[in-house]
Subunit: 535 residues, 2 copies
């Protein structure tokens, strides 16, 4: 693939800078009319993106299309899926890896990367056999009983995405199966989870791609100690998900081992064995397959080059418009679905770890902003919390709303003439309109300036299929932004320095515990070190 030189050298960025001097105003009378709504609605697979409430007009969209074309984002996306080495910094030591999270759900007859898809199929077959054996009570505990609970031990990508999907799909759980999560090295995390669990009927799913994650190995030992204290054999309860050949790849210690490969980044690993083992246990293999199918459908549809027919591409470009040209530093993702309570936490990793970068793919310092701060909580809860700032604060926050026409459980009541689901949807649309249009008032405290850009991503119902698709929409949006910004969205060198320093510090804390007269290193940090242990 020919080299792409990056964001600021595009002709389109000059046009966009010009357009940003006078962006479309949403507060003019009649600016938000049905024609605009109908025209600024992008349909793809099971989703609609309503973006009439963004500060764009046809000129903006045309320039954004140029930006997509000039940066050859679709070509780069297809290259990633085919296995080009996208995880690299040219001219410097870097990971030099492919990014093939799309391959693990590309399970049809003609996969784009046959080898990776074959590896995924093999692991899925192993998983299906394992799940069948659990259901048939061929794999049981010491007392011959079936397993009811799973503790997932992992952190970062081995925690956030899987946990977000588990919570999102709790309505689809197999009866009497529950999953619990331990992630933090804070010992209270494990202590709180292990209290009240019947360990004898619990599987422990230890997930670490590198097989050397400090938090995960520490928590695994804590949990193993609990099993031993309860007279249980960890070898009958512990499962491993790890990179083939990692220090954790030691089948003798585990009931089963499932593999991931170096072409799957942690934050893109939900549909690999990292998420699949737990989701398969909780939801069953069929529902897991639905998640993969939903994600794959988006991976395919996202090859569409017309930005008005490609939701993740359009979201990527609208995000760039708001961030790089209108100058807004953060992005709020606000799902009108309580089930998506931890989805934004997953996005914080997926987006900010991917695109929180300062150099381009040749190692040059960026002359433009890369990824924004991503945050959010479900509506309507957020309306009673931080929306005050969204409507009337001095900082403008672009918003991506997410909504579903139907509830998951279908348990609803008509109260005062409307159902809860109708109240939820009315609030979703109302917030979008209020932020965009604003409203005047003679009392300055009741004045809404409007022109707060936002969009609504809408689907029928949050099912395993839709959830897989939604996750893939965001994964795709994020890598496309990275391609356009010309950064490497697949490494995370920024987490290394903290690890190095923590290793330098930790021995001093332990030394202090053993010897109360230990005064720390004879250097600048001794005072700060002592604060960690002494009042």
């Amino acid at each position: 693939m020919a080299e792409y030189h990056g964001f600021s050298s595009n002709n389109a960025t000059a046009s966009l800078r010009e357009l940003a001097l006078n962006p479309f105003s949403l507060t003019e009378p009649n600016a938000l009319n049905s024609r605009r709504f109908a025209s600024y609605c992008c349909r793809m697979n099971d989703f609609e993106l309503l973006y009439a409430t963004e500060r764009v007009n046809d000129d903006t969209l045309s320039a954004l299309q140029d930006l997509a074309d000039e940066s050859r984002v679709i070509e780069q996306f297809k290259g990633m899926k085919r296995g080009e080495v996208v995880n690299r910094i040219k001219g410097y030591e870097s990971e030099e890896r492919m990014a093939l999270h799309t391959a693990v759900r590309d399970l049809g007859d003609a996969p784009l990367h046959p080898e990776a898809s074959a590896q995924a199929r093999a692991e899925l077959q192993k998983l299906q056999d394992f799940l069948d054996a659990l259901t048939a009570a061929e794999i049981v505990n010491e007392a011959g009983e079936s397993f009811t609970d799973m503790v997932m031990v992992g952190i970062g990508g081995s925690d956030l995405g899987p946990r977000a999907l588990y919570l999102a799909l709790a309505a689809f759980r197999i009866q009497n199966r529950r999953v619990h999560f331990i992630s933090n090295v804070d010992p209270d995390d494990a202590a709180a989870v292990l209290r009240g669990l019947d360990l004898s009927r619990t599987l422990v799913n230890v997930v670490s791609k590198s097989g050397s994650t400090l938090e995960t190995l520490t928590n695994e030992e804590l949990v193993r100690a609990s099993f031993k204290a309860a007279g249980l054999d960890p070898g009958r309860h512990f499962i491993a998900v790890t990179g083939k050949g990692s220090p954790m790849d030691n089948p003798a210690r585990y009931l089963r081992s499932f593999y991931m490969f170096d072409y799957i980044g942690g934050r893109y690993s939900v549909t690999s064995m990292v998420g699949a083992v737990m989701l398969g246990f909780a939801l069953g293999f069929e529902q897991l397959s639905e998640i993969l199918a939903g994600a794959h459908a988006v991976d395919q549809a996202a090859e569409e080059p017309d930005i008005r027919r490609n939701i993740p591409l359009l979201m990527a470009l609208l995000g760039i418009w708001n961030h790089n040209f209108l100058g807004f530093d953060t992005l709020a993702v606000l799902p009108y679905s309580q089930a998506l309570i931890r989805f934004t936490a997953h996005l914080q990793q997926c987006d900010m770890e991917s695109n929180g970068k300062s150099i381009d793919r040749s190692g040059q310092p960026l002359a433009w902003q890369s990824g924004p701060v991503v945050w959010g909580e479900p509506g309507t809860n957020g309306q009673h919390a931080f929306y005050q700032l969204l409507h009337q604060g001095t900082t403008i926050v672009p918003v991506e709303f997410i909504g579903f026409r139907q509830s998951q459980y279908g348990e609803d009541l008509e109260i005062q003439g409307t159902t809860s689901q109708e109240k939820l949807l009315a609030n979703l649309l109302a917030q979008s309109l209020a932020m965009a249009a604003g409203r005047g008032n003679s009392n300055p405290n009741r004045r809404f300036a409007g022109n707060r850009p936002n969009c609504i991503l809408l689907a029928d119902r949050l099912t395993p299929y839709t959830m897989g698709a939604l996750m893939a929409v965001y994964e795709t949006k994020i890598v496309m932004q990275g391609f356009i910004w010309n950064i490497n969205s697949f490494d995370q060198e920024g987490v290394q320095l903290g690890k190095v320093l923590a290793n330098e510090i930790i021995d001093h804390l332990a030394a202090r515990r053993r010897d109360k007269n230990y005064q720390g290193r004879d250097d600048d940090l001794s005072w700060a070190l002592l604060r960690m242990t002494d009042k």
Copy 2:
């Protein structure tokens, strides 16, 4: 109290603007030495604030002290506690209320606002009697059994703060007592919580100050319907916490009614009956009293005018330095404690709803930035998620770390020579230092620019007393920032427009459900309205 004219007319702001042109650099060799650490440590009650890693020197601190003095922030804070009408916009219709959340924990012999404290004592006495009757099994269910579970139905201030404290203090729960939360109008929220609950042994605590919150009343009806369907009498299970005289103040419908008063804002209401009833049920009255005592101790200590001896005041000023003078739009609050998993969500409301304002207390548009976007997740989890952007992103995010020397459960293991708690603390300190000092490298991808300002708020252990104190530190920091910015931190007019529009929209959704040919209003919104119901 004499009038304060506001932020930009202070002499100190001119000095601070000048100082901000060349702020103290944390990346110079030896910049972070033990003398600086020892000097830039503020002690107050059970906390230490380590702020050597902020971009300040003695000149900056001196100018910040001037800002505090000129804005008479301590005088304003004392006035608030004495009952001055701080919730107002001069010259315009506004709430015209006192803000007396401090009075509900001012329970000694000489309270600053005797009437409010007397009302608080009366409610606490009612609560203690009720809790004693539950414990003595004088109040029981239809079958004569004691209550084991409580469902708290509330949203915003009636949910976030109480929920954050419940989760933070789960280690201190009374055995066999659990609390569950329903907040969102999304019907799936109630459906998921009610599944698997034994309603017969469950109390329902309905909390709405106004007694007219849409979400809460809707969810109350949903839950009441479940009780009736189970053949249970809601009158034996439902408790109300509401404003005296509100539409919900109807003792005939409830087993007990507890009151709050108009001088308590929702986001400052955790220590009023809003949080107290649930926390008393879960933790017992004694632990609840500890929470109140911890908060009160901070309320008193925060009268100290020397910014280097007053943690919430110093945090308020460092926040203003980072936000208004160094120009950083957001603030990450990162607790190294899994128990504080929802504390940042509480702060999002407390801070952003209080200080996300665009006019001053005379109704004039602000010429300066008010409150920042507040977000965060616990460490070490965040290290494996969004810290990449904090270390190497193009947006600089000031950080407030929170840490505790000891764990809550005390269940820990030495693994590879160190305990989990030591690993946690080593990581906390390491992150603070890495962000501040940075580090060079010949590989540009392994370069850390440093000068990311941050501080560490440190205490011995997260107990009910410390939790009450921590919450009050932030409440106080937030109101002090509001006093300095000359804004009203106690109203939330910005949430009104969304409510108005939702009411306009909702009937159309219901009409559409009843009549499939209904085409919405004959106006601009009909197309968008139909999208909410039809694919």
